[in-house]
């Protein structure tokens, strides 16, 4: 089992995840975390929650591949990626990326790289619950552009 990737319905604890990244790890002085949460609006529509679908098996393979590329490009220590699936409400955590490194720029760059590629390559799909009912989110062209910048 890949300890670096977890796809789960349950919530996660930022503190616990960072504690694991830092445990017995006195060489890495820098820890960068990204946490993504359900916002209360999207394109001006009021959102009450999300349902997250994914493609089991491909999700893990795709994230492992993104992490491998990040490790080859930057000098990073430990990595953890968590993505939640199922029903989520406003304010709930959706995704966590944590990266440690000796020098801070590596952790910043690798973390943002992982998020940018997760956004365009990892098979997750969001369905929003709004006042107008449920609807699948459209992918954003800006996300493709960001990934292509690396």
């Amino acid at each position: 089992m890949n300890q670096e990737i977890s796809i789960q319905a349950a919530d996660f604890s930022l503190a616990d995840e960072v504690a694991l990244l830092e445990q017995d790890n006195a060489v890495d002085g820098a820890v960068v975390t990204f946490t993504g949460r359900v916002r209360n609006n999207n394109n001006g529509m009021s959102v009450s929650g999300l349902t997250l679908e994914h493609y089991p098996g491909m999700t893990e393979k795709s994230l492992a591949n993104i992490i491998d590329i990040a490790k080859s490009r930057w000098n990073i220590g430990r990595v953890k990626v968590i993505h939640r699936i199922g029903e989520l409400n406003i304010g709930e955590q959706i995704v966590f990326v944590g990266v440690t490194s000796k020098h801070r720029h590596d952790a910043f760059a690798a973390n943002e790289f992982i998020m940018d590629f997760l956004k365009v390559q990892a098979p997750f799909w969001k369905k929003e619950r709004t006042e107008q009912g449920e609807s699948w989110l459209d992918a954003k062209a800006t996300d493709d552009a960001k990934a292509q910048n690396w």
Binding site: G36, Y55, M58, H83, L118, K119, P123, K126, W136, A139
Partner: protein
């Protein structure tokens, strides 16, 4: 046989999450797509969508990618996680 899976909006619009299809006469993802599109007018419309993504055995691929018996092929809209 080829296992074909569908996700998200495409799965709902097809009202189908998975099917199996004979691998005869299918050597690429594009050919599989053609064959699925021929099932009905609705399927044709949905598979004509150029933004549709495809994966073979959990790797994202394009239409020229070869398909062999026993492969798992997936079709889905652009991803929106994170």
């Amino acid at each position: 046989m080829i296992k074909v899976v569908f996700f998200a909006a495409l799965r709902e619009q097809l009202d189908c999450s998975e099917l199996t299809i004979s691998s005869e006469n299918i050597s690429t993802v594009a050919e599989l797509k053609q064959q699925l599109a021929s099932k009905s007018e609705q399927w044709r419309t949905l598979f004509d969508n150029t933004s549709l993504l495809s994966a073979v055995n959990h790797d994202m691929v394009d239409g020229t990618h070869p398909i062999n018996a026993g492969d798992e092929v997936a079709f889905f809209p652009p991803v929106t996680g994170g």
